[in-house]
């Protein structure tokens, strides 16, 4: 990483022609990827990302530059050129005294992945592959992927913040394909954590592989999903992606600061069903979406977003905080030095309720049970969303009758969350990558089972 004296000179250069705040972000990341197909390693790669991002604020506008060249002279020149572009009057900062930001690290890795042999990593994939293939004769193909990264960050700014952290993340992907005639269906799981190699000692690899295989095999029997408006029971875990996409993004300052989006100006108002309470909690130990400090050096927090249907807070970064007159909530994140940070989610959860999943199904006359959700997207301006159902079943007269494929849930986030009439007691988180303007970042979603009284289901069945 860089020497404090160098960082100070760069920050002062960044303010030499104007601007009222400057920040340096240094990233050095080592990652390892191994992919396996049919039990053989297909590709193995590793590498090092390295770069320095410099950001200047003047008022609520910003300038950003990044470079992979760590030479001090180059950095000072880059910072000065950026400052010049601000075209403001001279600034008066002469020195900066750094105060090291101390925190108790909550997400320490027990076994550093960099000291684990690559063959041990490969063996994890071999085991997953074996269990998925052995699960059923219909399984024709298994793809698995191993991933770990160690990201060292340094964040220093003209207010004297000096914060350093090491983030170790581990994740594995299992995709199983079941074949029957020319029909192919897939099942997929991808657990991850902010942990080292000990992650694999705590995982039940067999159960994971079998759950991916099970989805694929069950979907072979599936009929095309009938379309139309109907009640939908969305089960726990990755089902939380709907709240993440449909509501979470609307609560990011990025969406709120300009007065756009469905939740701008709605603090203290009822914005979703009174059955729903939701938080964004970056402090949960070793979770995939957790942080010790955000990418502006602010400690992560547990932020209450919604309490019993009432909007309680937003996710705010420094820059949007200026626009909104609010403090940062420790929510500023970026994929890498190549992105200026902005307000993003960490672990975004709908909290557990009192209803039982069995009762949700038993009290539904005709509807869809979405057991596992796939990905989706949302237009944060309008709140309109769409999500794929990876594994789904029709509910008829209170019972699950047959599996369905090709189902899509579409609707409007605001409306859908009003239409939640039952909230389950079976909370579970799920891991994902969230793509937005500051890049692709690890996040958790999570929820108990929810019943939406009416939702549009897309599908080609009759």
């Amino acid at each position: 990483m860089l020497h404090p004296a160098t960082v100070e000179r760069v920050l002062l250069a960044a303010l030499s022609y104007g601007g009222d705040f400057a920040e340096v972000f240094v990233e050095n990341k080592i990652e390892q990827n191994i992919s396996m197909v049919k039990g053989e390693v297909e590709k193995a790669r590793s590498g090092q990302d390295f770069g320095i991002g410099i950001r200047i604020f003047h008022g609520s506008d910003y300038l950003y530059t990044y470079t992979s060249n760590e030479d001090e002279e180059h950095l000072i020149k880059t910072a000065r050129l950026l400052s010049q572009a601000a075209q403001k009057s001279e600034h008066r900062n002469k020195t900066i005294t750094f105060q090291k930001r101390s925190f108790v690290p909550r997400h320490l890795a027990q076994i550093d992945p960099r000291v684990v042999s690559i063959h041990q990593k490969r063996d994890v994939l071999a085991e997953l592959n074996h269990h998925a293939m052995a699960y059923h004769t219909a399984i024709s193909q298994v793809r698995t992927r191993y991933f770990d990264e160690t990201q060292k960050v340094l964040i220093a700014n003209s207010e004297g913040v000096w914060a350093e952290d090491i983030r170790v993340r581990t994740r594995t992907f299992i995709e199983a394909i079941a074949t029957e005639g020319n029909q192919k269906q897939r099942g997929y799981v991808a657990p991850g954590a902010q942990k080292g190699f000990e992650f694999y000692n705590e995982l039940d690899l067999r159960a994971l592989a079998e759950s991916a295989a099970d989805t694929a095999v069950r979907m072979l029997e599936a009929k095309p999903c009938p379309g139309g408006k109907m009640p939908v029971v969305i089960d726990n875990g990755f089902g939380g992606v709907i709240f993440h996409e449909a509501c979470g993004h609307g609560m990011e300052a990025t969406a709120v600061a300009k007065g756009k989006g469905p939740y701008a100006g709605k603090l203290g108002q009822t914005v979703v069903s009174a059955k729903i309470s939701a938080v964004d909690d970056g402090t949960i130990n070793n979770e995939w979406g957790s942080l010790n400090i955000d990418d502006e050096g602010t400690p992560a927090k547990r932020n209450v977003l919604i309490k019993k249907g009432i909007l309680k807070g937003y996710l705010v970064d420094k820059l949007n905080g200026r626009r909104m007159g609010m403090e940062s909530t420790g929510s500023s994140r970026r994929q890498s030095y190549r992105f200026a940070p902005t307000s993003r989610m960490t672990n975004t959860y709908i909290l557990g309720g009192a209803d039982k999943l069995e009762d949700m199904i038993a009290t539904t006359e005709y509807g869809l049970y979405a057991k596992t959700m796939g990905g989706g997207s949302v237009n944060t301006t309008t709140g309109d969303f769409n999500f794929a159902v990876l594994e789904g079943y029709m509910i008829e007269n209170g019972k699950l009758t047959y599996p369905v494929k090709g189902a899509t849930l579409i609707g409007n986030g605001r409306q859908t969350m009003y239409d939640v009439d039952m909230v389950g007691n079976n909370f579970l988180p799920g891991q994902g990558m969230c793509g937005s303007i500051s890049g692709s970042i690890p996040v958790n979603v999570g929820q108990p089972a929810l019943r939406v009284s009416q939702l549009t289901v897309g599908g080609s069945g009759q």
């Binding site: 390693v41 193995a44 790669r45 590793s46 590498g47 090092q48 990302d49 390295f50 506008d61 910003y62 300038l63 950003y64 530059t65 990044y66 470079t67 992979s68 760590e70 050129l81 572009a85 601000a86 690559i118 063959h119 490969r122 793809r143 394909i177 074949t179 020319n182 029909q183 192919k184 269906q185 897939r186 095309p224 999903c225 379309g227 139309g228 300009k258 756009k260 190549r338 200026a340 796939g374 990905g375 989706g376 997207s377 237009n379 301006t381 309008t382 309109d384 769409n386 999500f387 794929a388 494929k405 090709g406 189902a407 899509t408 579409i410 609707g411 549009t456 897309g458 599908g459 080609s460």
Partner: protein
């Protein structure tokens, strides 16, 4: 630097080494409410290597381009190669070349002015309530690929682009849409760009669902391009070999009605002269008159299938070799778009789809996508439609008779591949709401 790497590789008993470098500098400005809200200037370089060590091939990359890092880099190559039972073939010919495509570029000041003017002008357009993005960006990049067999090819190019995204509002209802321009910014027609983004957003206002059913449907060229993007993977020989493409064993079979589908690497926003393994590219039909003519190959899949390589090995310096098309396109039709509408008594014109990465099954070909568009009744566009889904199957949709409009264009550049198509009329598509 590359020579240094080759020498170090030899010392480390790495039998073959391929080096891919990318150096780029980019500039972008975004205007908001009459000010430059974001100003971004970047300068990066990265280096990726692929090496043969013992029986296998290993990959590694670094963004710290300093000789002290090269030691670690090549050790990573060896470590990764030790997991592989087979090696990936490398380009064996001593081909060298140096190309430079240069486009006129504005000065930084001119670009800032342009962004500001674009934003303030867009704000004045009817029913525009906000401008999400008024952005001018430009960049230059140099890509080099070299290996220890004497390959050494360099390509340098630059681009300039304007992008506008607007929000329109009528009563409580909001809609958004965007438009882009790529090329010489001094020739940018701001009015046209604003009209396009605002026009597309405004016409969606007042949209309503329509009755569930099967309809004649015109898919706008943007929608066709999106579907091509999602389903182009079925032509990848890698997917064929792995059993995840339904085109396995289908070369020479008439699967797609009367469709023509070709890859022309010299078309689109930037020429692709050679792939990321050093192989020269060429124009190639994947489907001609409905018949599957070719898969897309890297050197490795070509060797495995004993077919000729096609120059579709794609990688960034960070990644491994993947297979992807360069400029995949359905050639233009001859009928005006409005003439296609006149053939429809009760149907739909689909202009937007969402959920491409979740609502599509690339193995089965099934897709179910949230969509927006317009009802077509008795040959005329009548009212906007939203909150519907359209469902079909990519393998089945071209077996019905299709009619192509004459409005061919490419999709917005992003990533390596770019897709081109005209709008197309399909006899039946399932709509639900």
């Amino acid at each position: 630097m590359i020579q240094q790497l080759f020498e170090l590789a030899e010392k480390k008993r790495i039998a073959e080494l391929e080096v891919l470098t990318n150096q780029s500098s980019n500039f972008s400005v975004q205007a908001y409410e009459g000010k430059i809200e974001s100003y971004k200037k970047t300068n990066t370089a990265g280096l990726g290597v692929r090496g043969t060590y013992q029986a296998g091939t290993g990959y590694a990359y670094t963004e710290r381009l300093r000789p002290p890092e090269f030691e670690t880099l090549l050790d990573m190559v060896k470590d990764n190669a030790s997991l592989m039972k087979e090696k990936e073939p490398m380009f064996q010919k001593k081909e060298v070349g140096n190309w430079h495509d240069s486009q006129p570029d504005l000065t930084e000041k001119e670009k800032i002015t342009l962004a500001l003017e674009l934003e303030s002008q867009a704000r004045l357009a009817e029913e525009v309530s906000d401008v999400s993005y008024a952005m001018i960006s430009s960049g230059e990049s140099t890509r080099q690929i070299a290996n220890t067999h004497g390959l050494n090819k360099i390509y340098r190019s630059n681009y300039s682009m304007a992008y506008l995204s607007v929000i329109v509002k009528r009563g409580e209802e909001v809609e958004t849409d965007s438009a882009y321009y790529i090329g010489d910014l001094s020739k940018l027609d701001r009015v046209k760009l604003i009209d396009e983004a605002v026009g597309k957003a405004r016409r969606k206002l007042g949209g309503k669902p329509m009755p569930v059913g099967r309809y004649q449907a015109v898919l706008d060229r943007r929608v066709v391009c999106s579907l091509l993007g999602v389903y182009s993977g079925i032509f990848s020989a890698r997917n064929v070999l792995q059993g995840t493409s339904r085109l396995e064993g289908q070369l020479g079979e008439k699967l797609f009605g009367s469709l023509d589908l070709l890859d022309d690497p010299l078309s689109g926003h930037e020429r692709i002269l050679f792939d990321d393994e050093g192989m020269d590219t060429s124009t190639r039909y994947l489907v001609r008159d409905g018949v599957v003519e070719s898969y897309l190959h890297s050197l490795q899949t070509a060797a495995e299938m004993r077919q000729a390589p096609t120059g579709h090995g794609i990688r960034s310096y960070k990644g491994t070799v993947q297979i992807a098309p360069h400029r995949l396109q359905i050639p233009n039709g001859t009928t005006g778009l409005n003439n296609l509408f006149t053939e429809i008594t009760n149907g739909i014109y689909i202009t937007d789809v969402q959920g491409l990465h979740s609502g599509t099954n690339t193995v089965s070909g099934d897709f179910s996508l949230a969509a927006q568009g317009f009802r077509i009744e008795n040959g005329q566009i009548t009212s906007p439609v939203k909150e519907i889904t359209i469902a079909h199957n990519f393998f089945d949709m071209f077996t019905q008779p299709i009619k192509k409009a004459d409005d061919f264009d490419f999709s917005m550049p992003g990533g390596h591949s770019q897709y081109g198509a005209p709008s197309i009329l399909f006899e039946t598509i399932a709509v639900s709401s």
